[in-house]
Homo-oligomer: 370 residues x 4
């Protein structure tokens, strides 16, 4: 039986523009917002190819896997790249960034990932933004894994290019994304003869034909279902309240960390300091002799829908990640995840205390609310 429930008139330019305005309000930004018709990699690549060029020097802060990709693009554009690499179990500090900028005064572009969903840490963007602004470089922030989960204020923090997607904390679609662009970023793009133009990668096309044209005609047919899902997702976030949504994520992170610590059995937070831990995911190091991938597989047997995954690449053997974003940032999910993980760990013979984990998680959630 096919139920064509959805009889969809094409999305109008006005409705598209209204979605842009809602994204701008979500980010408290007065910058232009462009909703890009592809995964967040599309605007990230668009920003770098528009902002970097031969003669540019970029500071590329690498706190997870995407930093590597940004570096590749920057080098592709002919820019000189200074990579600032930080171990995955910690955050970069504003001091480290300041130090790099001091050593390379010619830096005119900084790329940073706000929260790292893969490794579970988050970076102190306000302080970094202050340093970058003082230096004068263009500042690009990948905020896909932070938007909705923790404060994100591009204007206050001096972020020139703030890229978001809805697929993490907002519980929305991954097929469209958005970027806010400051005036000076537009100017930099416009002055770059190599910036993509008349291209699917081009942000300037949206500036010149869509924004400057009064937002009357889209450049091409949008990904309509993804746009509608984004619109619905923004409505939900507004109804819940952005503060409540962020609270829910912070509580989930606190509860998961507390529960894991109380569980025992040798499971330890991968990110050393709680303040460096991302609200969207808690990463845990498995005890010696326990393969993380196998542990996760066992934990998922009873309830495959739980948001548990093993780390990627080299981390597959030693890192378990408890995702708690979107609808999963909820006490029911966190407690069920800890219970499943604890039971699987117990089966390996490790001494675990399931009750203590559940109590600690429940209590931490409550504490967070005060």
């Amino acid at each position: 039986m096919t139920h064509p429930l959805l009889d969809l008139a094409p999305l109008t330019a006005d409705r598209f523009a209204a979605i842009e305005r809602r994204v701008a309000a979500l980010l408290s930004t007065g910058q232009d917002v462009v909703i890009t018709q592809g995964e967040a990699l599309l605007p990230l690549e668009g920003c770098i190819r528009s902002g970097a060029r031969p003669g540019s020097t970029a500071l590329n802060v690498v706190t997870g896997p995407y930093g590597q990709t940004f570096g590749d693009w920057l080098r592709d554009c002919g820019a000189t790249v200074v990579d600032l690499e930080v171990p995955f179990h910690t955050a970069v500090s504003a001091d480290q960034v300041a130090h790099a900028l001091d050593r390379h005064p010619e830096i005119d572009f900084v790329s940073l990932v706000h929260a790292e969903a893969a490794t579970g840490n988050t970076n102190p963007v306000p302080g970094i933004g202050e340093v970058v602004r003082a230096h004068g470089a263009l500042f690009m922030l990948d905020a896909v894994a932070s938007v909705g989960a923790e404060p994100l204020l591009p204007d206050a923090w001096g972020v020139d290019l703030c890229v978001i997607g809805a697929q993490k904390a907002m519980g929305g679609p991954a097929g469209v994304s958005a970027v806010s662009v400051s005036e000076r970023a537009w100017e930099r793009f416009a002055a770059n003869p190599r910036a993509p133009r008349r291209s699917y990668l081009s942000l300037l096309d949206w500036k010149e034909r869509w924004i400057d044209g009064g937002r009357r005609a889209l450049l091409h047919a949008p990904a309509q279902l993804e746009m509608l899902a984004l619109e619905a997702c923004l409505e939900r976030v507004e109804a819940e309240g952005l503060d409540a949504l962020m609270d829910r994520h912070a509580s989930a992170a606190a509860a998961t960390r507390a529960g894991a610590l109380a569980l025992g059995g040798g499971l330890e937070p991968y990110v050393y300091e709680a303040q460096d831990a991302a609200p969207v995911a808690t990463t845990l190091r498995t005890p010696a002799g326990v393969d993380a991938s196998e542990l996760v597989a066992r934990a998922l047997e009873a309830k495959p829908s739980l948001p548990l995954v093993a780390g990627g690449g080299a981390l597959a053997k030693e890192m378990v990640r408890v995702n708690h974003y979107g609808p999963d940032a909820a006490p029911g999910v966190v407690r069920a995840s800890l219970a499943a993980l604890g039971a699987a760990l117990g089966e390996t013979g490790a001494p675990v205390n399931l009750d203590a984990a559940d109590r600690a998680a429940t209590e931490a959630w409550r504490q967070r609310q005060r």
Copy 2:
């Protein structure tokens, strides 16, 4: 990932009434149409309990399984029931109905199923309607399996209570249904002190509170998703055109019958005369020694989505039913169904001609278009 794509404002009374009007247009009827918030059994039961009472005599034409249910309800209401039973491989004739009415001049209610989805036959309602109208009885028609697949004209045919559902030819939802009610049916209901009132079964509630109240307030919250699916389904039918939709079903029936005849292997139409065959399903008798349920199971192995089923109850061993309604009334589905059925039959050792079946089905579809 949960995608709450559908942010649905409650269905307004105006939109509900507009859906009723579309159903009335579909039936070319000037009668009141009530959209009932349950499967079609709900209005069928509502009609019988409202129209029949102690002292009533009902002619209940039994050409398939639902006739048995109607008889039970009629007896429940205290009516005297004359059952006119017809073998499942044929249709009832207007003459048979006329004969029964002549023998029982006291009959004041006639119940009939238009097309029988279970057994694959269809009854000649126009002629029967003429006879019933001349006699003066109230005429209830179960048109769930005919609407959209063959002509259905309650006003022209003298049908007082025409019950439809969207789940067959219209390819729509089963959770809501509709009934058109003639003026004299309303009068008969109103005069029946035992007719359901203030009840989920009541049609009079809808008459008195919804229709006579100017269609301003629904009696209770509707099954909103099913209503929206019905609305979308009606739009599709209007866009395709009712004639084209009926043509498609007639073509599917002709093609399936022709293909089955050309296939050989001992498979034979269950309904003797092509003119008695329903456009929504073709029933076939399996050759001796071939269990229909096993044949269907084998045919579905490769492509489980094909609309093939074995007969119900006692027919499970000997009847195969090829459903071809809604989106399945299409050459691609009919040809794939014949191919799967033929291949499964061939595996039993029966001499089948798959090519001939495919050619005959294709040709019959073409012929029907002229």
Copy 3:
């Protein structure tokens, strides 16, 4: 553009039964659960017509509009009805029920609404259940507006017939509903020759053909889209956690009440005692001279999606209802509702303090979490 995104295989009996089990778990009940294919009025009517008969005496507690309907059905069944009416601004007490039972020892059926969505109060069911159980009557509870918003424990409380719908606190569909049935309720139904059988209204049909038949074949095609929406809704409730869902509703009620009190301008809680107020909706009395319907219309001008409505019937002039159930039990919605209501009231010249209302609501939400 029609996007038939949903290609839905028919719901299997197993999946239907699994949804029943999830409802049973939600209610912590060992009773049979039947999912009824219509709005909650269908099982409520089914319960009364199955449980009451000539010779029965029923205590019908009337704390809102549905009590009237229950009384009608009870009288329809030939039962003697004792109506216990309570003013809408308060709850019924266990003592009042005990007193009525003492005066009418012949009472064998008690009907009660748990929370009244229309008037904003909720009744103390645990104590009432104790009294009814001691008396020995069958106890039917309409829990449509309480399930998910406040504790609901039919087994612990001695409820024999607990009817729920998903359209309030659970944020789910209204087109299907459910009822849990105790063993002694089944016995009482079976012993009632007038209980609906072979009928859309029948609960015994589901007992005899579905449950006793091993849950292998549904009685008829279900309202598939509504069933899928119910399933999705139950999954969400489980993921969030029932406690968290109830907390959210209690917080929304506390915040709305506190905000309204702080707003000033003459708006007052309609339900005198906070403990009698339902978690799904807060009802407010408008000051003299301010028409509630007009006030609501003005408040909705800017943001029509806010969950504000005027009271029904005679209350339309004096009662404003702030609904806060399902996704609307969220700080963002509560604060926006108070702001809109306050602004509209301010326009009438009433002295309102919007800041104080917002602060009080925010603070009350926080306090509730401790």
Copy 4:
């Protein structure tokens, strides 16, 4: 009320690969198929930027607006471009292409649009393909507006890069698209140092990481809703049968043209020869003094959902386009479109014959079926 009906597990790599295979079957191609995560402009741009480079010479056939865009991209890549421009009221011929290839033996890339949705013509690709293959150039075809509406056989016709979208005849989503790539196209891309790599525009990334990696891991999160809509759309096309789908479009084109000719009132086919007319849309020239945009606006007043639009740009005053693709390739829609257009034209005082138009359209549809 939010109905999160869709609880979607992430699309697996296997399911993604299965969708690719279905697209390959639709095109009867043995080439690799890549499903690109953006509108069809994305793979079109990807093909040109991968296939063209400084030193290339491209023949760019311009039969509508997209040809202009292709020329821009080709020049961007440093290729020498030979534009072959053809008036919009006709098709390009294989002879014209052969002539251009003869004059420029250095041509190594040919770009062509199959059917032009904007101007209503279609080009004879089989003959052109033969000429291009003999010459040896890489042949890119934009088949977005032809796929599903008319034969499309990249392997038989020698098309190296065949780009499709589902938003026209297939009635599917616009947010994802696909391209089939021949072996020699992959070789040409791989040999091009300027071909996009590690980029949203890159086709080679999909080749190297997805296809050569055994289709085990997607490059990034896909546009899941659009992918599911594409999958559902392919299932529908298979069920209907590709032949039946193409027949439906050819019939719609024949019926619209015949109806317009019979209507009178000065409306004339924009494309001179019926054989050059695209099956997805019929373009009509308005009589002198009748503004096409105004005519369309008037025609849509009564039924805004009809698929009527005025021409774009300079054609807005003189061209009306009747779209008849996807679900709109149906007799009901064609007849309603002609009736609305005819009535609007009649209001300008033009002598129109609505009955004749309806009869001619109906008859032409029937004739086409033979």
